[in-house]
Amino acid sequence: MEVTINNIRKEFERFPALNDVSLKIASGELIALLGPSGSGKTTLLRLIAGLDFPTSGKIFFGDQDASHHSVQERNVGFVFQHYALFRHMTVAENIGFGLKVRPAGSRPPKTEIRRRVSDLLEMVQLGGLEKRYPNQLSGGQRQRVALARAMAIEPRILLLDEPFGALDAKVRKELRRWLREFHDRTGHTTVFVTHDQEEALELADRVVVMSQGKIEQVGSADDVYDRPGSPFVFSFIGESSQLPVEVKDGTMLFQGQPIGISEQGDGAGELFFRPEDVTLVDAPDALFGKVTACRRLAGTRIAEIDIANEGHAPYHVEVEVPLHAPIELGSETRFRPTRWKVFRK
């Protein structure tokens, strides 16, 4: 099911939680809504589900305007961060709930419900746990029951709100891979919310980066990491350092001095670069500062460098250095970004 979101605006007591958001989700796509807390990602998910209604704007399911459809009419599968399982029902009763509450005309017979429940339990690899109650399951198992329950109603679209947020790191990694396989097998249009960029980049076909009620960038993991479209995306995703620079006659100046890289278009801006896109140089026209700390990070070494800023707190940048590079604490180091981006003021 294709989902189109047109100019959605949502206000909570006059405070805009979403501001003119538009997004097109292709059928069968796995999409991540990524952003810090308060960026509006959960609000957007709830609007798609019909758990909230937009102040203005429209939501289409396929060609159908679903903006005023109730949550029951939309037939979406929703998985909550804290599972929201019915604790007084067994696993089987939880999963079968959506079928059992259907009006008499479209409700499948009891044997059919039982068969579907056990199929779904097999699918989420929890066969044999039909009779358990939610409090007898681990967090990862509960989340899979919640997913099976959402899938039982054959939803047109699957929505997950921080599905792995309440799980420990190892289970989270497992479930992440498992969800990807699950999606590839079932082919449901899936939207999930996360604040974990690693999760979003690893799992999603496309990542929607959100900040302050707006969509900052939509793109593949490569797009948002390698070609960030805004200062927010550059600093939010991955590690980065930033410095105020000026471009004059095609040369980049930092604190009025050339730093040995060229850039089109004159004017002031903000220079962004990642720790791994830096090379150490031995030249007068480069950035330079004192090494204040050095940490080993798996296969690399990260040097923290303070660049003096007269009368103000020094600029702090992080630079990846070769493992065997002669770096001493307190020594002066010269470096140039090899890949960078300047965002104009």
Binding site: L51, R87, M89, F97, V101, A150
Partner: protein
């Protein structure tokens, strides 16, 4: 202390040493306190009743007047507790789910039956529901006051806060996400309430029922003013006990009290068993 904790592992121990001190002191205090307030008076009651012997006890038990009084006491308390379960839950719902002017005032009014002298409540209700009272006159020729129905009215008044105050906090803790989950699965509002919310509230409602019921069985002050106190019709067991006392028939009085005690204890015990069974299944509610 360290020596104590490690020595003689084979010996039976009351309780493993805990990081929180004072187990012995608090247990001793609790036992002494319970003895003084509850156990010794109850033992005295049983002692007095024993004076009757089995045949005497049986005679009191099978006396028509005793049986009718017990039937009225437990029957009206049961009906009143049922009424309170329904309307107390509705009141708790309104107080937790909606915000409206005067909510805090209504919240405070719920506690009034706790504080009001029960005799005052009984007189006020009797005046209101009497055949010539404001409300009672509307129902004529059907009589409310001075019938078992009047007793139910008084017990509903007395028992309301027990249900509201036990259900309300649990209702406040209810997870909104669970209701939303039910809605996304296609459940309408009625199905969500009946299949998801109410089952979650059952333990609290059951506790509220037990408290209201127990309170209703023992209630005296408000009931005697509205009941009419006609033997075999609207005479409650506590009143019969007082009547026996005034006849200096102490053994007769304690025998009725013992019967009430046993019935109440068994009912509360069963309710507690149901609660424990609930907790084991669904985890702590």
């Amino acid at each position: 202390m360290i020596h104590n904790a490690t020595a003689s592992p084979a010996k039976w121990r009351l309780k493993q040493p805990s990081i929180i001190p004072g187990f012995g002191l608090t247990l001793g205090f609790s036992l002494a306190y319970l003895s003084l307030i509850i156990l010794i008076p109850v033992a005295g009651l049983l002692w007095r009743t024993a004076g009757l012997g089995w045949s005497g006890f049986f005679a009191v038990l099978t006396d028509r007047r005793t049986l009718d009084a017990l039937y009225i006491s437990f029957g009206t308390a049961f009906v009143a507790a049922l009424v309170n379960v329904v309307f107390g839950t509705v009141v708790a719902w309104v107080l937790t789910r909606y915000n409206f002017p005067g909510r805090r005032l209504i919240d405070a009014i719920v506690d009034l039956p706790f504080a009001l002298p029960t005799a005052v409540a009984g007189i006020a209700l009797a005046a209101l529901y009497a055949p010539n009272g404001w409300v009672g006159s509307l129902f004529m020729p059907f009589r409310i006051a001075f019938t078992p129905l009047g007793i139910v009215v008084a017990l509903v008044f007395i028992g309301l806060p027990f249900v509201v105050r036990t259900v309300q906090p649990v209702m406040e803790e209810l997870d909104r996400e669970v209701e939303e989950a039910a809605a996304t699965l296609g459940a309408n509002r009625f199905q969500t309430i009946s299949k998801v919310i109410l089952p979650g509230l059952t333990p609290a409602i059951l506790t509220g029922f037990a408290l209201a019921f127990a309170r209703g069985v023992g209630e005296y002050g408000s009931v005697i003013f509205i009941a009419g106190n006609i033997p075999y019709v609207s005479e409650i067991a506590p009143l019969l006990i007082v009547i026996r006392l005034e006849e200096f028939n102490y053994a007769g009085a304690t025998a009725i009290a013992t019967i009430m005690l046993i019935i109440s204890f068994v009912m509360l015990f069963i309710i507690n068993l149901i609660q424990a069974w609930n907790r084991r299944r669904y985890g702590n509610v």
